[in-house]
C-alpha cells in the first residue's frame, strides 16, 4: 500500500495503481479519452495531465503509477492550461456536428469541453475530412464516421486485447491516419458493437440504435442480460415504454465492461407482445376473461385428477421458480419440470481477462438447479407431455423451442391446457386458457449466473396490458388453491423467504443485491450446476 496526496487529500491505495484509478478513490475525476480501465495504457490522448510536486514536466495520470508520498495536483493553473490546450487540439479537426451526431449526450468531447475546454478556438482553417469514411458500415452492427475520430485507438485495442480478433487497425500516419478493418473485411466478431461503447466520441456508433432516441431522453435501468446463463450486467435504455438498447454495465466478476452482440440485440425483441389479456377457449369459442375468473379456472384445472403437469421455465427469476416449487410442487404435490436446452456458445471476458463460456441458453437454469427443481431436456420434456394425460400448465410458452412447435401443439391437443405467453405459438393458439405473461424487462427478480453469482435485474417497464409477472400469477394461484393467505407479496418478500429456506441463498438479502454487483451463492451450493 502506498499513501499519497492528491489535491490536498491523503489517499492510501494498492501499489501499482495508476493515478486515474487512485484519484477516483477520493472522488477526483481526471479526464480521459484513450484510457480505459479494461484496456492497455497507451498515453496518447494527453488529456489526463496532472502536476506532480518535484517533477519539471506535467505527467499523464494514466501511465503514472502512484508512489509513496507523491504530491499530485489535478487542477493547478498549469494543468488547466495544458488540458484546455489539448481540448483545443482535439477539437481542431472535430466536426462539431453534435446536432446530428448520435453520440451527443454521452460524448467525451462534449463533457470535457464544458469542463476543461476554452470558450472558443484559435482555429480558422478548413477542417480535415475523410471522404468516403463519413458514414460507412464498418461491420454489420457498427457505423463509422472517421471525421469525428480522435485517434484514441480504444477500438483497435478492444479488438486486439479483448475480443482477440484483431479486426481493426489504424492505417496511414499522423493526422490522416484512420480506423479501418485490418484486411478490409467487415468488422464481424461476436462482440463487435463493444467498439462503439469504448469509442469516446461519435466515430463508431451502433447501427441498431442510431437515431432512435437522444440518449439524454432515455431512462436507464440496471439489469442483467437474459440471453444466456452468463448473466452480463447491462443498462437497459427505454423511452416511453419502448426498449431501445442494452449497453454493458461494468461488473468485474462477470462481463468486465463488455457484452456480446447476441445479447445486446435481444433488446428490440423484448418490445413484441401479442398476448395482452387473459383468454378462455371453449368449444363455443374464445372469450376474454378477468384475471380473477382465469385464476379460478386455473385452480379448478390444477385440482383435477389425474394430476396435472406443470412446465416452468429456466428463464424465470429465482423468486418465480421458488414460488413454483413452494406453491405447486410442495403444497399441491404437482409434478413440475423445467425444460432446458443447450444453445450456441457464448463467451465473455471478465475484468481479469478470463473467459467465461456458456452453452446454456437460459438465464437462470443455475438457479433452478439450486432450487432442486427437475430439469429436463427437450426429449424428456416431450415424453413427460406425451406420457401424461392430465391437464397441463405451461408457465412460459417460450420456455423451450420444442414448446413452440406444431408437434407440441399436437401432443397437447384435446387436453385442458393453460399457458402463460407473450407471443403467439401453436400451443397458445389452441390452449384452453391463455394468460399474458410479463416480459423479463417488466418484472423484478434475481438470476443466478453460470458462475454462481446471484444478481438482481430491475424492472424497467410496467407490464404491458394486463400482463402479470410469473411470481404474481403463482402467488394468486396459491391463494385460489388455499395454500396462501391473503397477503402482500413481492419479489423482495419471496427472496427473504427463499434465503431463509434454500441453502444456496443463505445470508443474502434483496437490499444488498440492490447495492452490490452480485453475491456468490453459498459455498456448499457452488458445485451445483
Amino acid at each position: 500500500m502506498v499513501t499519497f496526496t492528491i489535491d490536498g487529500q491523503s489517499v492510501t491505495v494498492a501499489e501499482g495503481t495508476n493515478l486515474i484509478e487512485a484519484a477516483l478513490k477520493v472522488g477526483v475525476e481526471i479526464p480521459t479519452y484513450c484510457y480505459h480501465p479494461g484496456l492497455s495504457v497507451v498515453g496518447r490522448c494527453r488529456i489526463c495531465f496532472v502536476e506532480i510536486e518535484g517533477m519539471p514536466r506535467l505527467v499523464t495520470a494514466c501511465s503514472t503509477p502512484v508512489q509513496d508520498e507523491m504530491v499530485v495536483f489535478t487542477a493547478s493553473e498549469r494543468v488547466r492550461e495544458a488540458r484546455a490546450a489539448v481540448m483545443e487540439f482535439l477539437l481542431e479537426n472535430h466536426p462539431l456536428d453534435c446536432p446530428v451526431c448520435d453520440q451527443a449526450g454521452e460524448c467525451g468531447l462534449q463533457d470535457y469541453s464544458v469542463e476543461h475546454g476554452l470558450d472558443s478556438t484559435h482555429m480558422i482553417d478548413v477542417r480535415r475530412t475523410f471522404p468516403g469514411l463519413e458514414r460507412r458500415a464498418i461491420g454489420p452492427h457498427v457505423i463509422q464516421n472517421q471525421n469525428r475520430c480522435i485517434h484514441c485507438t480504444r477500438c483497435v485495442r478492444f479488438t486486439t486485447e479483448i475480443s482477440e480478433t484483431a479486426d481493426l487497425a489504424m492505417k496511414s500516419r499522423g493526422n490522416h491516419s484512420y480506423i479501418d478493418t485490418f484486411d478490409g473485411t467487415p468488422l464481424d466478431n461476436p462482440w463487435s458493437a463493444c467498439v462503439a461503447d469504448v469509442c469516446p466520441v461519435g466515430a463508431l456508433t451502433v447501427k441498431e440504435f442510431r437515431f432512435r432516441a437522444r440518449v439524454w431522453h432515455l431512462e436507464e435501468t440496471e439489469t442483467v442480460c437474459p440471453g444466456c446463463s452468463i448473466g452480463c450486467n447491462v443498462d437497459l435504455g427505454h423511452l416511453d415504454g419502448v426498449i431501445h438498447r442494452f449497453v454493458p454495465r461494468a461488473n468485474a466478476e462477470i462481463n468486465g465492461w463488455w457484452m456480446c452482440d447476441y445479447g445486446r440485440f435481444l433488446a428490440d425483441g423484448l418490445n413484441s407482445r401479442e398476448i395482452d389479456a387473459p383468454l378462455r377457449r371453449t368449444e363455443d369459442g374464445e372469450c376474454a376473461v378477468s384475471w380473477e375468473s382465469a385464476m379460478a379456472t386455473l385452480a379448478t384445472l390444477l385440482r383435477a385428477a389425474p394430476k396435472p403437469l406443470v412446465v416452468a421455465s429456466a428463464n424465470f427469476s429465482n423468486e418465480a421458480l421458488y414460488s413454483v416449487k413452494r406453491n405447486l410442487q410442495e403444497s399441491a404435490e404437482i409434478m413440475v419440470v423445467v425444460p432446458i436446452q443447450s444453445g450456441d456458445q457464448r463467451r465473455i471476458r471478465n475484468a481479469r481477462g478470463e473467459w467465461i463460456d456458456s452453452v446454456d441458453a437460459h438465464s437462470n437454469s443455475t438457479g433452478a438447479r439450486h432450487l432442486d427443481l427437475t430439469l429436463v431436456d427437450g426429449v424428456a420434456l416431450e415424453s413427460y407431455i406425451r406420457d401424461g394425460d392430465g391437464p397441463l400448465l405451461i408457465l412460459d410458452a417460450h420456455a423451450h423451442p420444442w414448446l413452440e412447435t406444431e408437434a407440441a401443439a399436437a401432443a397437447v391437443a384435446g387436453r385442458p391446457t393453460a399457458v402463460l405467453a407473450r407471443g403467439r405459438t401453436p400451443i397458445v393458439d389452441t390452449a384452453s386458457l391463455v394468460l399474458p405473461l410479463a416480459s423479463w424487462a417488466e418484472t423484478e427478480g434475481t438470476y443466478t449466473s453460470s458462475t454462481g453469482i446471484v444478481q438482481l435485474a430491475r424492472q424497467a417497464l410496467p407490464p404491458a396490458g394486463q400482463a402479470r409477472p410469473p411470481w404474481e400469477v403463482l402467488h394468486s394461484l396459491a391463494r385460489h388453491l388455499g395454500h396462501e393467505q391473503e397477503r402482500i407479496m413481492s419479489p423482495r418478500l419471496l427472496f427473504a423467504e427463499m434465503a431463509a429456506e434454500i441453502g444456496a441463498f443463505a445470508g443474502m438479502t434483496f437490499g444488498r443485491l440492490k447495492t452490490e454487483p452480485g453475491m456468490p451463492v453459498h459455498e456448499e451450493a457452488r458445485g451445483v450446476g
Binding site: R46, L58, S63, A82, L90, E92, H122, D125, G174, S177
Partner: protein, 443 residues
C-alpha cells in the same frame, strides 16, 4: 583547428569498403583487443572517452551501456540506428558508404561490452545501396571470423542483421525503432521503462547512432584518454558536420567538437554561394532551432550551441542565404513534420498539421491577425513533455525560433494580407424585409 580525420580517414582510399582495405588500415585490431578485455573495462574506456551520442540527444554512450542490467538472465540486444532521416543530416550514410567495416567493428565492440549476441542495424528504407554495402561487409566479416561464432577465437558470438525501415522518420526515435523491429507500427513507447531495461522483444537493448559506434574502435585502440583530448572538455572527439544549403561546397566534413560554425561554413564549405550573405543557419538538423547570421562564431559543441539558443543535434548544418523567405522555409520544415508525425499524441498530431495550415496560409498571402498567437500557442503546448517522444519539440522549436528571430517577416506578410483584405468591398448589412416595407410605405 584542423586535424587528421578519424572517422572518415578512409575517404579517398581505393576500395575502402572492402575488408582487405580495412585490414590494411589496421582494422579489427580494436575488436581483437576488446574481446580480450573485461566487458566492464570496455565500458570504462568508453566512459573515459566522454563520447556522447551523435544521433542528436548527446547522451554519454558509456553511461548508456552501463544502464544495461548485467545479471538479468534475458538476452541483450544491440541496435545500430542508421535510420537517418532528419532533413539536413546525411553523415551516417557517408560513414556507411566510405567505411562500413568501421561501423561493424564499433557494433561488435559495443555488443561485446553489453553482452549482446544479436545486433541489428536498423537502416532507413531509402538507403538501398547502403543496406547492400552493409550486407556485403557483414558477409565478408563473417567469412574472416570477425563476426559470427567464436569471434577471433575469443569464444564470443555475435550475429549482425540488417533491418530495413519502411520509410517513417519516427522510426529513428529509439523506441519506435524497437517497435518497428518487432514488426509493429512504429510508434514511440511510453517511458519508463527505458530500452536499456525493456527494449526489443522485452529485453535490455542499447540503441546507438552509426557515428557514435564508428568512434568506438578508435577509442578502444587508442584509448579513451586520447579521444578525450580532442574537442572540448565536455564534448569530446570529432564530429561529422553535414553542411547543406547555400554554400559553395556542401558536404560532410569532419572536425573536432568546438570548431566554430564560421570555420565550417566559411572555411570548409568556401562560404556562401555566389558570394552571397548569410541570413541564418540551422546548426543541428531540421529540428534544431534556427540561428541568425550573427551567431556564426558559436563553437560547434553541445554546450556552446545550447548556450546560443539551439542544439548541436545531429550536426546537420543547413545554411540559408539572404534570398530565403523565412515564411516559406518554416512551411517547408512543417510540411515534413506534419507528414512524419506518427499521429499518436494529440498535441503533435493535430498541432503539426494545424501549424502547417497556418504558416502555409500566411505564405500564400492570407495571413490573419491572430495567426502568430496561434503559432505561439501550438509551439507552447505541443512541446516540453506534452508528447511521448521529442517529435513535438522537433516541430515546435523551429516555430518558436523562426518567430523569435524572423518574426518580422511573418508580421509583414500578415500585415500585407490584412491590408489587401481591407481593400475588398465591405460586406454591407442586408436590408430586412421589414425595412423594405417601411421604405415602400414612406414613398
Amino acid at each position: 583547428m584542423t586535424i587528421e580525420p578519424i572517422l572518415l580517414a578512409a575517404r579517398g582510399v581505393k576500395n575502402s569498403r572492402t575488408l582487405a582495405s580495412y585490414l590494411d588500415r589496421g582494422g579489427y585490431k580494436a575488436l581483437t583487443k576488446a574481446v580480450a578485455m573485461d566487458p566492464a573495462k570496455v565500458i570504462d574506456e568508453v566512459k573515459t572517452s566522454g563520447v556522447r551520442g551523435r544521433g542528436g540527444a548527446g547522451f554519454p554512450a558509456g553511461v548508456k551501456w552501463s544502464f544495461v542490467p548485467r545479471d538479468l538472465p534475458k538476452p541483450k540486444y544491440m541496435i545500430c540506428n542508421a535510420d537517418e532521416s532528419e532533413p539536413g543530416t546525411f553523415k551516417d550514410r557517408e560513414l556507411i558508404l566510405v567505411d562500413p567495416h568501421e561501423v561493424l567493428e564499433g557494433i561488435a565492440i559495443a555488443s561485446y561490452a553489453i553482452d549482446a549476441h544479436t545486433a541489428y542495424i536498423y537502416i532507413r528504407g531509402e538507403f538501398v545501396r547502403e543496406a547492400e554495402i552493409l550486407e556485403r561487409a557483414i558477409a565478408e566479416a563473417r567469412d574472416k571470423n570477425y563476426l559470427g561464432k567464436d569471434i577471433v577465437g575469443s569464444g564470443y558470438d555475435l550475429e549482425v542483421h540488417v533491418h530495413r525501415g519502411a520509410g517513417a522518420y519516427i522510426c529513428g526515435e529509439e523506441t519506435a525503432l524497437i517497435e518497428s523491429i518487432e514488426g509493429k507500427r512504429g510508434l514511440p513507447r511510453l517511458k519508463p521503462p527505458f530500452p536499456a531495461v525493456v527494449g526489443v522483444f522485452g529485453c535490455p537493448t542499447v540503441v546507438n547512432n552509426v557515428e557514435t559506434l564508428a568512434c568506438i574502435p578508435h577509442i578502444i585502440e587508442r584509448g579513451g584518454a586520447w579521444f578525450a583530448t580532442i574537442g572540448t572538455e565536455r564534448s569530446t572527439g570529432t564530429k561529422l558536420f553535414c553542411v547543406s544549403g547555400h554554400v559553395e561546397r556542401p558536404g560532410v566534413y569532419e572536425a573536432p567538437m568546438g570548431t566554430t560554425f564560421r570555420e565550417i561554413i566559411e572555411g570548409f564549405c568556401g562560404g556562401i554561394r555566389n558570394g552571397g550573405k548569410l541570413k541564418a543557419f540551422i546548426p543541428g538538423g531540421s529540428s534544431a532551432p534556427i540561428l541568425p547570421a550573427d551567431r556564426i562564431d558559436t563553437p560547434a559543441d553541445f554546450e556552446s550551441v545550447a548556450e546560443a539558443g539551439s542544439m548541436l543535434g545531429s550536426g546537420g548544418v543547413i545554411v540559408m542565404d539572404d534570398t530565403v523567405d523565412m515564411v516559406w522555409a518554416l512551411e517547408n520544415l512543417l510540411t515534413f513534420y506534419a507528414h512524419e508525425s506518427c499521429g499518436q499524441c494529440t498535441p503533435c498530431r493535430e498541432g503539426s498539421d494545424w501549424a502547417l495550415d497556418v504558416v502555409r496560409r500566411i505564405r500564400r498571402g492570407y495571413g490573419h491577425a491572430g495567426d502568430l498567437e496561434t503559432l505561439h500557442r501550438i509551439a507552447r503546448f505541443a512541446s516540453q513533455g506534452m508528447t511521448i517522444c521529442p517529435l513535438g519539440d522537433a516541430f515546435c522549436l523551429p516555430i518558436s525560433s523562426f518567430l523569435e528571430h524572423f518574426g518580422g517577416e511573418f508580421e509583414a506578410a500578415i500585415a500585407a494580407a490584412e491590408k489587401r483584405a481591407a481593400t475588398f468591398l465591405p460586406i454591407l448589412p442586408v436590408r430586412s424585409d421589414h425595412a423594405l416595407f417601411e421604405s415602400e410605405e414612406a414613398s
